[in-house]
């Protein structure tokens, strides 16, 4: 187990190095891709907390992501708040909303949980879609980015913005890793494995589920504020359930409940989409086939494959060394 944790940590470090190396050689388009990967990576990690670690599969997570983006846009564009204050307020607001939503949705389990999160997410989508003050179906434009000129960084430069996001990513990763290693993280794992037994142990199951739903929602909202700053133009599509589905795909492709997997999944899907859409108009067909094969393959996504490969390599090495000893 400890070994597995170290392996994943090494994988996370390697992924980060790969991002930074590609950043140093990227052109304008590469910077945009890296920024998108970093944002989706944050969102996918937040969903992994729910789906992977706690066993709450939500199909409405994009609505919280969109809530963060729209709250940020409303605070900056409509009310003229500075971006830093707007980011904090939007994250907090999404967290509060997630707390309320979490209190409602955690009352049902399993397939019903999937359905109720889908329904509430779609409600959010419809509300934004119909609200003219937020641009309705036309979307909302003219969103500013955080002003870091005080420390000599201009985030309107695509390279600087991509690096800014790529530096947030490992910070959040380390924080979540710390959280999951704590007793609280152990409780989440217990809820994933056997909620009935956790209740029998005297644990207020629903209260813990609500708390992680709220925390995960706040993180999704934070990713939303970054997404609004990245594209500077947002549409209700951000909140749609198919967006939630795509993020879930990233989590699964990368490896459920591995934290680094969702980031790898976000990178894989974003790059695949980019590469395949150059080659064919029907790229989502291949994405779908890929997804079906990964899920039916039985391993836990990319991280699962790598871990299986690593354990074969290690077993080989252990065998060789024991052979050496007996000789």
């Amino acid at each position: 187990m400890q070994n597995l944790m170290n392996f994943r940590f090494a994988l996370a470090a390697l992924t980060m190095i790969a991002f930074l190396v590609s950043w140093s050689g990227a052109g304008y388009f590469g910077m945009e891709l890296l920024a998108e990967i970093a944002i989706l990576g944050l969102l996918a990690m937040s969903l992994d907390l729910l789906a992977g670690y706690t066993g709450l599969v939500s199909l409405g997570h994009a609505a919280l992501f969109g809530c963060g983006a729209y709250a940020f846009a409303a605070f900056t564009v409509l009310w003229g708040w500075p971006a830093s204050l707007a980011m904090a307020a939007a994250t907090l607001l999404t967290g509060l909303l997630s707390l309320i939503v979490g209190a409602v949705v955690t009352r049902v389990q399993g397939i019903f949980f999937i359905m109720i999160t889908l329904a509430i997410g779609e409600m959010g989508y419809e509300i934004i879609f119909k609200t003219r003050a937020l641009g309705g179906d036309d979307g909302l434009a003219g969103i500013p980015r955080l002003d870091l000129t005080a420390i000599g960084v201009d985030l309107n430069d695509p390279g600087a913005f991509a690096l800014f996001l790529l530096l947030i990513l490992p910070v959040v990763y380390l924080l979540l890793r710390r959280l999951l290693a704590s007793p609280y993280g152990a409780i989440l794992n217990g809820l994933h494995d056997n909620p009935v037994r956790m209740r029998a142990l005297g644990l207020p199951v629903q209260r813990y589920q609500i708390s992680i739903f709220a925390f995960s929602g706040a993180l999704a909202g934070f990713a939303g504020t970054l997404s609004a700053q990245h594209t500077m133009f947002i549409t209700p599509q951000l909140l749609h359930w198919t967006t939630s589905g795509e993020v879930l795909i990233m989590v699964i492709l990368g490896g459920l409940g591995t934290l680094v997997g969702p980031v790898i999944g976000a990178a894989t899907v974003t790059l695949l989409r980019h590469e395949l859409s150059d080659l064919t108009d029907y790229w989502s067909l291949w994405l779908g086939v890929f997804l079906i094969l990964v899920v039916m393959g039985g391993k836990n996504g990319v991280v699962g494959w790598l871990e299986a490969g690593w354990s074969i390599v290690r077993r080989g090495r252990v065998k060789r060394s024991s052979n050496d000893a007996s000789r």
Binding site: F112, M115, L118, I120, T242, Y282, G288, I292, V295
Partner: protein
């Protein structure tokens, strides 16, 4: 507006017609859900396939009648293929993986449909039965929509007879109620599920081809109908014919009248209804399993 009988007449027929389409779609899905706890998000894509293949058949034969017969068969064949290749292997995998695999299937089927039929709206204009309209309470109403309502009611009656008065129906009810005991008593639950899946696919195809003359077909139509169908299934209660029928009427009426009275909030009303039902009666209005 509210005291005008013509207005009520048109709106009630509209909501009945939408309800019957939703019923055709949701009845297969609800038994698939209820019988094997299988989450099938690709069901809406079969609806689109029914409409699109119906379009091609109608174009080739110059009339809709053959399309009504052949399009559900086509969809059933595709359903059988999906079952053998994918569904059967995912049976024991848990809802999470089923959601993902069938979500992947949505992408695959959508792009295949786009590849074959393009992205345009395809409408049938000639050879439609009951293409006239009639006048009642001072309102003209297309006869074809009455036909849709009749198809829905007929299917409901046929399924009711099938479930209550045939051996297959008894096996389906037993398998929904308690699969382990049913298989101990010699019911081939696997085969029952396969048959139900085929019937469900064919009904989704039928819904598509019946809707074709009224709404025209396009590749994306399966995705947009999916969510209301899932709502019907959950509101009605998993696995029950009565639940699918009641749920369809409730959601069809909510959507139609919501569209008239609160145009901006029609679908929000539907989701609010779902959330309310899940919180008050988590297993739906008429669940098959008590």
């Amino acid at each position: 507006m509210l005291t005008d009988s013509g207005f009520w007449f048109v709106q009630v027929l509209n909501s009945l017609q939408l309800s019957m389409l939703l019923f055709l779609l949701s009845v297969g899905l609800t038994v698939i859900f209820g019988l094997m706890n299988f989450v099938d998000l690709a069901h809406g894509s079969l609806y689109a396939l029914g409409a699109l293949s119906g379009y091609s058949i109608a174009r080739a034969t110059g009339g809709m009648w053959l399309a009504y017969l052949l399009a559900p068969l086509c969809v059933m064949l595709v359903g059988a293929l999906l079952y053998v290749l994918i569904i059967d292997r995912m049976r024991k995998a848990g809802p999470m993986k089923q959601v993902l695999v069938t979500f992947g299937l949505i992408f695959v089927l959508l792009d295949i449909q786009r590849y074959i039929w393009g992205t345009d709206q395809l409408g049938v204009t000639s050879g439609i039965p009951f293409s006239g309209s009639f006048v009642m309470f001072g309102e003209t109403y297309p006869t074809y929509r009455l036909f849709i309502i009749c198809v829905g009611l007929l299917v409901f009656a046929a399924l009711f007879l099938l479930l209550e008065h045939t051996r297959l129906g008894a096996e389906v009810r037993a398998s929904v109620d308690d699969p382990e005991t049913a298989s101990c008593l010699g019911v081939n639950v696997e085969r029952t599920f396969f048959v139900v899946f085929l019937i469900g696919s064919a009904l989704a195809g039928l819904a598509g081809v019946v809707a074709l003359p009224a709404f025209s077909a396009e590749a994306g139509m399966g995705v947009s109908i999916l969510v209301p169908t899932l709502v019907v299934v959950v509101v009605g209660g998993l696995g029950s014919l009565k639940g699918a029928f009641a749920g369809s009427l409730l959601i069809g009426t909510t959507l139609t009248f919501g569209q008239v009275f609160f145009p901006s909030f029609a679908s929000i009303l539907m989701y609010a209804l779902l959330v309310a039902v899940l919180l008050i009666r988590p297993s739906g209005l008429f669940p098959a399993r008590g």
